[in-house]
């Protein structure tokens, strides 16, 4: 049976929807909050902010993460910044403009009402973080400083050097820690969620594995909040941390939650290129660098001269040339694709020829080395540490890499999936970024979801639903536990010849070649075939060392790879189904003569939500209705 997806968008004009919603919801009586246990899986910006806020309100919170401490969630690695419509620089920003830029940046494939709420909340996030002691960059007068990011013509990005994610996450972590100290949050670190438990059709618990002892645990609650991040690691090489995975989301999907727009992935234009086949992950160079760095390649193919020996007139600053009004600050998908074209034309640089230059020479001569060091010092150091080259003296070499996944579990306006009681926050949901996310808006979304949306929507759910007491003795827990155990035993028993990493690399290659920056019908069909074969081979021939009863990272990674091997196929199918180019999803068949993406609004203005069943996936469409924004061709020229 196909699930019915109702987005539950509140009535009223766009600007009044969130207010109307808050006015209309049911509230949980303060005395009753303690009686509700909420399971929060993930401690990144979304999970950390949700757990602390719900505990502050009086709920009984249990919080889970894979790392040894909640402070190490992948959000910690975000560099560049967080958007808000404060308009402190007085350069014309408004809530409307932030909303509009985000919808346009997402290439008109996101839900207007959700995005508008995000823009409305953005300012409160900055207030909250400053109050927590987040040391944002300031001007000499003591007020907060802003910088520009891609896809916007105003300066609305707040930042803490190149460590914005770290500082925001530590803010949330510290708030969580306060609640842990007060006994309102019970923290379970080094625990991996393996399954969702449904009782009477509602999310009432989770199954986890203790990553030190291998024990399988059961946890019951009144609602489950999934804040488990994105699935970029399906490509093996990405800018995501090594533990980032899709497992929790995928297992919820298999329990009934629809997965929306899985093919919408973001390839970030400025990453350090791959250096060899031992490569284990890719390092991002923040988009903020494009404020002052100029992207170029030699005009001549196969030009092996050192960058400094290539005269100005023999360089092609292709972004400035093709997009004069946004120049180097075009959105990520546009910048990435153009880097690929340059390399496809044989103009790539460096040893592998899969790189373009990001050059600071002009900015250094205009502003001085010191000013550039103050802005990007730590990024320059990081670049030098990894490559052994000094970017003050020679241009950086950069290439696109998988970075963020706009797709994720489908949620309605209340961030609730189609499984009652299962809420999805942060990168794990699909909601706000359409087909392409603008820089500095994931941090904004994660914190909006956790600090300011879920406290209302979860309360409404708990107050409106009759939730009889469920204990971990319930039959549903036993069944789910047995299934999780069986999978672990199976993985350990195969004892084949190929390691988990070998399989993961192979999957990554298929995904990057066929479901990457540029996709074709033929390539996607090939991908589906190859992934299916690889998955079958994996289940017959994988070699997982060691045992279950101790810390065993290979076993953890094997379980996550098993899910990636299923997700990868769905991504290819989704990309095949979407016969248009939009945002990060570029189908070669659908491009203009100048090579720009061509959307097809008549046929594809919908969210593609996939429902799982034993017999395969079925597509459920949530039509997107634009009441306030007129759909136009995205132009950054």
């Amino acid at each position: 049976m196909k699930p019915v997806l109702d987005s539950h968008i509140p009535d009223g004009p766009l600007k009044e929807k969130w207010g109307n919603y808050k006015n209309g919801i049911k509230l949980v009586n303060p005395a009753n909050k303690r009686k509700h246990t909420v399971l929060v899986v993930g401690t990144g910006l979304a999970g950390g902010s949700a757990a602390s806020t719900l505990a502050e309100l009086g709920y009984n919170v249990k919080s889970f993460c894979i790392q040894d401490s909640p402070r190490r969630a992948h959000s910690i690695a975000a560099q560049g910044g967080i958007n808000a419509a404060k308009n402190y620089p007085n350069d014309g920003d408004t809530v409307w403009r932030l909303f509009y830029d985000t919808v346009k940046g997402g290439d008109y494939r996101s839900r207007e009402a959700n995005v508008h709420r995000l823009a409305e909340i953005s300012n409160e996030i900055i207030d909250q973080c400053v109050a927590q002691g987040v040391p944002f960059a300031r001007e000499y007068g003591g007020l907060l400083d802003n910088r520009s990011f891609g896809g916007a013509q105003v300066s609305r990005t707040f930042y803490a050097r190149g460590q914005t994610g770290q500082q925001l996450l530590l803010g949330a972590y510290q708030s969580m820690s306060r609640q842990i100290g007060l006994g309102n949050i019970e923290m379970f670190a080094r625990q991996e969620m393996l399954d969702l438990v449904l009782v009477d059709g509602k999310a009432r618990g989770i199954i986890t594995r203790n990553l030190i002892t291998g024990e399988i645990e059961r946890h019951a609650g009144d609602a489950v909040l999934l804040c488990t991040g994105g699935y970029g690691n399906v490509y093996y090489l990405s800018t995501n941390a090594k533990n980032s995975n899709v497992t929790a989301a995928w297992r919820c999907h298999k329990r009934g939650a629809t997965f929306a727009n899985p093919c919408f992935t973001q390839i970030h234009p400025t990453c350090i290129p791959v250096s060899g086949d031992y490569q284990s992950k890719l390092t991002l160079m923040s988009e903020s660098l494009r404020n002052d760095g100029r992207v170029w390649v030699p005009k001549k193919q196969g030009d092996n001269r050192k960058p400094k020996d290539i005269p100005e007139e023999e360089r092609d600053y292709y972004l400035e040339r093709r997009y004069p009004s946004f120049g180097n600050l075009v959105p990520r998908d546009v910048a990435s694709r153009n880097a690929k074209y340059a390399c496809d034309e044989g103009k790539g640089v460096g040893e592998t020829k899969l790189a373009v230059f990001l050059d600071f020479a002009e900015a250094i001569s205009r502003l001085g080395q010191e000013a550039i060091a103050a802005r990007y010092g730590n990024l320059f150091e990081m670049y030098e540490r990894i490559t052994g080259e000094n970017p003050y003296e020679t241009p950086m070499r950069i290439y696109p890499a998988v970075h963020y996944t706009m797709g994720g579990l489908w949620v309605d306006y209340e961030l609730q999936s189609n499984v009652p009681g299962l809420f999805v926050l942060g990168e794990a949901n699909f909601s706000d970024h359409g087909a392409n996310r603008l820089g500095a808006s994931a941090l904004m979304q994660g914190l909006a979801d956790g600090y300011f949306v879920i406290p209302y929507t979860l309360g409404n759910y708990l107050a409106s639903n009759d939730l009889p007491k469920v204990t971990i003795q319930d039959e549903a827990f036993a069944t789910a536990q047995t299934e999780s155990t069986a999978q672990i035993e199976k993985l350990l028993s195969i004892q084949g010849t190929k390691t988990v990493t070998e399989y993961h690399r192979e999957l990554g290659r298929i995904m990057w070649d066929h479901v990457g920056m540029s996709r074709t019908e033929e390539g996607l069909q090939t991908a589906i075939k190859e992934i299916t074969a690889l998955r079958e081979d994996f289940w017959e021939n994988v070699l997982v060392p060691g045992e279950n009863s101790t810390l065993n990272k290979n076993l953890e990674f094997a379980g996550r790879l098993a899910d990636f091997l299923e997700l990868g196929e769905l991504m290819a199918r989704d990309a095949l189904e979407r016969a248009e180019s939009c945002g990060g999803h570029f189908r070669e068949e659908y491009q203009s003569e100048e090579g720009e993406a061509m959307r097809n609004d008549d046929l594809f203005t919908y969210v593609a939500a996939w429902a799982y069943s034993e017999n395969g996936h079925t597509l459920v469409k949530e039509p997107l209705e634009y009441e306030s924004v007129k759909l136009t061709t995205r132009s950054y020229k």
Partner: protein
């Protein structure tokens, strides 16, 4: 193209918290100067798995020096020879063909070994939970610009806030003191007006928790500062002492 190097690794192996540990020697014949130190361990692990041995367990996640997951003692130095660099960002170009590298876990009573190179650093979380925060509930904040903070103060706060909680300072300290870690957080929050109301309770609670966890006292060896990947200054420890004295003396 770059040439490969033959690297010998002497690695601490310990099956579990209570098991007896020992060094094992392995050879990686095809290390590459561009690879990171953790990628060298990856290559070793692939080799071990293929030859039916247990891989070496080590903590890692971001591999870009920010999450604080990684941390091993390399040739006697926490995080290895490159200054201000977490071991995930240490690259093999700093080694040469034929080198032997000794790899051990953090060693400190308050950081019990879980397996091989993996230790339990949850004591750090408990120090933060004791008071390393500003008490502000979501929704209660005033406009962010209503409280101007001098740029110099904000910059210093950021310097101290940069700690990644890796534990190298503890591993390097002859007393296994957690002073640098704790002082970094105290100094960060002490720089900011938002942190002022809880200044006294914060420092006493955190310092007491540090002692309770079994970390040693600081006797100014400054080994911590030398290994800290984020360059946290030892001056923070002086700040912590000052804050503590002010708190206990009234």
């Amino acid at each position: 193209m770059t040439e490969s190097m033959n690297i010998k690794l002497k690695v601490w192996r310990q099956a579990g918290p209570k098991a007896q540990g020992r060094f094992e020697t392995y050879t990686v014949p095809d290390a590459n100067p561009h690879m990171s130190f953790l990628e060298l361990l990856d290559v070793l692990n692939e080799q071990l798995i293929k030859s039916d041995q247990d891989p070496v367990e080590f903590d890692h996640d971001c591999r870009e020096g920010i999450c604080g997951s990684c941390g091993v003692v390399v040739d006697g130095v926490a995080h290895g020879p490159q200054r201000r660099t977490a071991c995930c960002q240490l690259h093999m170009r700093h080694y040469k063909d034929g080198d032997t590298i000794v790899v051990e876990p953090w060693r400190a009573e308050a950081f019990p070994i879980i397996k091989d190179l993996v230790v339990d650093r949850s004591a750090f979380d408990r120090i933060i939970a004791a008071g390393g925060y500003i008490s502000i509930n979501a929704g209660a904040a005033q406009d962010a610009n209503s409280l101007p903070i001098a740029k110099t103060a904000a910059e210093l706060a950021m310097d101290f806030a940069a700690c990644i909680g890796c534990g190298a300072c503890v591993a390097a300290c002859p007393n296994a003191s957690a002073s640098l870690f704790t002082a970094a957080k105290i100094s960060h929050l002490a720089m900011l007006p938002q942190g002022a109301p809880e200044r006294k309770s914060r420092v006493t609670a955190m310092v007491n928790q540090m002692a309770e966890e079994g970390f040693g006292d600081c006797s100014n060896h400054a080994e911590c500062e030398a290994v800290c990947p984020k360059g946290i200054s030892i001056s923070t420890i002086a700040t912590m002492r000052r804050e503590y004295m002010k708190a206990v003396l009234g």
